[in-house]
């Protein structure tokens, strides 16, 4: 069961600039994955609850207690650019 995918849109959503050849390659690979998903989707699942997690665990909570944070200098050292103790990022485009 062939499944079509708008691979250019997926790339845009993921902010990936891909060449035409790359797009073709990923289109083929993603279509294989989607075909598999379509086969699973075709199975009769009436009355079967969705399984988001493989283990039957719920309510894994922690106490509302403060733990140690990272050192600001160490954190900012990971960034390409900083301005004082802030991360500095290029102008944010008018979209979200």
């Amino acid at each position: 069961m062939p499944v079509e995918i708008d691979i250019a849109k997926v790339a845009r959503l993921a902010r990936l600039a891909l060449s035409e050849e790359d797009l073709d390659r990923y289109r083929e690979q993603c279509e294989v994955v989607l075909e598999h998903a379509a086969r699973v989707q075709a199975l009769p699942t009436d009355g079967v609850a969705g399984t988001s997690h493989p283990l039957p665990r719920t309510n894994a909570f922690r106490e509302d207690r403060i733990t140690e944070c990272l050192d600001t200098e160490e954190v900012l050292a990971q960034a390409p650019d900083r301005d004082g103790d802030f991360f500095s990022v290029p102008k944010i485009l008018d979209e979200q």
Partner: protein, 482 residues
């Protein structure tokens, strides 16, 4: 044609837990930038989130206060989008299975009661804070942006209302009521100006009596109750003008400009809203059983509507009762004063008048001032006992707020104690009467109007400290007429 606005409101409330939603970094809004961060809230590879149990309880109290059903099972999802203030490139939120659904909040707008449905209350995490550097702080003019991740991961509740609201005033009343409830629950400081409570409104118009909704516009960037009302009034007018002239309202997000008093459209790409939600694999579902739900429900404090009812029974007017019930800090001081015998209306008037004005002017909270129940009770007693006139009491209150001491001390040092001793007042009154033959003669003839003049003369002679009621009585007794 007459149009009817259809309004729904989404409110975000930051919770005042000690630590963040999914990690142990402190929730502390005054901290220096990028100090309250760790691998989890920075989205570093391999870091795993763990849900803050108290945040779940706080979310449940909000849901229960809004008459919601608490879901037996709810799950977290990933909301995928790219923005520099969100280090993981997704926000952990709840989507298909939120914690609280199907509630309502009763609202009163200018004496008219209405019920606004609550679609859902769900848990999520806040993003970091970005500051745009450049001309005027606007995104479009910025050269670059500064990011502080201290706020990233702070527990955030989203309260989504049904499109049940029919006017800008009702929208304002709804948010005020919701804010009052959140404050009374003690789960958020709900500061609108600082953004710990924020709201967006969806607005559309339809012909009165029509069933289908019109095209809706999302209005953002209102940071006070007043700006919410103004923004909605403006947006309703704008849409009505478009429809009147035969045009079509564009479905879009519009940004409220407080100074210009207008909304402007924000450009946005169509696919920017393809969030590709999926279940968060790093977090297991939340299950709430009857025992847990009952325990949280049993610990709910009194809500604004109930407090308002009690205040009305004490004889307060509706406006004052509303102001006191929606601000729990002020309400509790009021109750403490009344519990020790203070006059309810007098204390309420001070709190909603002079005290509130000062708090706004100085941008502070009641807890940071010397005002408490015992101070107001003392001041109230001084008025009731005739030691202070109503206007002198306000001077004393100003002195207390300025840190000059307890009411008795301030009254003494500002020399405001009223003379209520007849023996002390009689010689002064006799002097005034002797100097004003003409007025006394008129009063004897039954001209009651001159008594005000004579009382005024005595007040002046005593530097405003005489008890005017007593002076009035003594003058009438002396002159014999009247």
């Amino acid at each position: 044609m007459t149009y009817e606005p259809v309004i729904g409101i989404e409110t975000h409330v930051e919770l005042t837990t000690a630590s963040k939603m999914f990690c142990g970094c402190p929730v502390d809004f005054g901290a220096p930038p990028n100090t309250n961060v760790c691998p989890v809230c920075l989205g570093l590879p391999g870091a795993l989130p763990v849900v803050n149990g108290r945040a779940v309880e706080y979310a449940m109290t909000i849901g229960l206060a809004l008459n919601c059903t608490i879901a037996g099972r709810s799950v977290f999802s990933r909301k995928n989008y790219f923005y520099p203030d969100m280090p993981k490139n997704y926000q952990i939120s709840q989507y298909e299975e939120p914690l609280c659904v199907d509630g309502y909040l009763d609202v009163e707008t200018d004496g008219t009661a209405s019920r606004v449905g609550i679609t859902r209350v769900h848990m999520e995490e806040d993003t970091g804070k970005s500051t745009h550097v450049g001309v005027g702080g606007r995104i479009a003019d910025a050269s670059h942006s500064l990011i502080d991740f201290n706020r990233a991961g702070v527990p955030l509740m989203e309260v989504v209302s049904e499109p049940d609201i029919r006017s800008a005033e009702e929208a304002r009343a709804f948010v005020a009521e919701l804010r009052g409830a959140v404050l009374r629950l003690g789960v958020s400081d709900a500061k609108l100006e600082e953004g710990s409570m924020r709201f967006d409104a969806n607005v559309s118009l339809r012909a009165v009596g029509a069933e289908p909704f019109g095209t809706k516009v999302e209005v953002k960037n209102m940071n006070s109750l007043r700006s919410l009302q103004r923004a909605l009034e403006h947006e309703i007018e704008r849409q009505a003008a478009i429809l009147e002239s035969g045009g079509e309202v564009l479905q879009e997000t519009r940004h409220w400009d407080e100074e210009a008093g207008t909304t402007t459209g924000m450009r946005s790409k169509e696919e920017a809203f393809d969030y590709r939600y999926f279940d968060e694999p790093d977090l297991v579902p939340v299950e709430v059983d009857d025992e847990w739900r009952t325990r949280v429900a049993g610990a709910l404090p009194e809500l604004p509507a109930q407090a308002r009812g009690r205040y009305l029974e004490m004889g307060l007017d509706a406006t004052t009762a509303g102001l006191l019930s929606n601000d729990v800090e002020v309400g509790l001081v009021f109750e403490a004063a009344v519990a020790t015998g203070a006059d309810a209306q007098m204390v309420a008037n001070w709190l909603t008048g002079e005290v509130t004005a000062l708090l706004r002017r100085e941008d502070t909270t009641l807890g940071a001032t010397p005002i408490d129940g015992s101070v107001l009770a003392e001041l109230s007693a001084m008025v009731t006992d005739g030691q202070l006139s109503a206007s002198a009491a306000k001077d004393v209150l100003a002195g207390v707020l300025a840190g000059e001491g307890r009411p008795a001390e301030v009254a003494a040092s500002r020399d405001l104690i009223q003379v209520s001793d007849a023996g002390e007042l009689e010689p002064v009154i006799d002097g005034v009467l002797a100097e004003n033959d003409e007025a006394v003669a008129k009063l004897k003839e039954g001209d009651e109007k001159v008594i005000g003049f004579l009382v005024g003369q005595v007040m002046r002679a005593t530097g405003g400290k005489a008890d005017p009621g007593l002076v009035n009585q003594i003058i009438k007794a002396r002159v014999g007429g009247g």
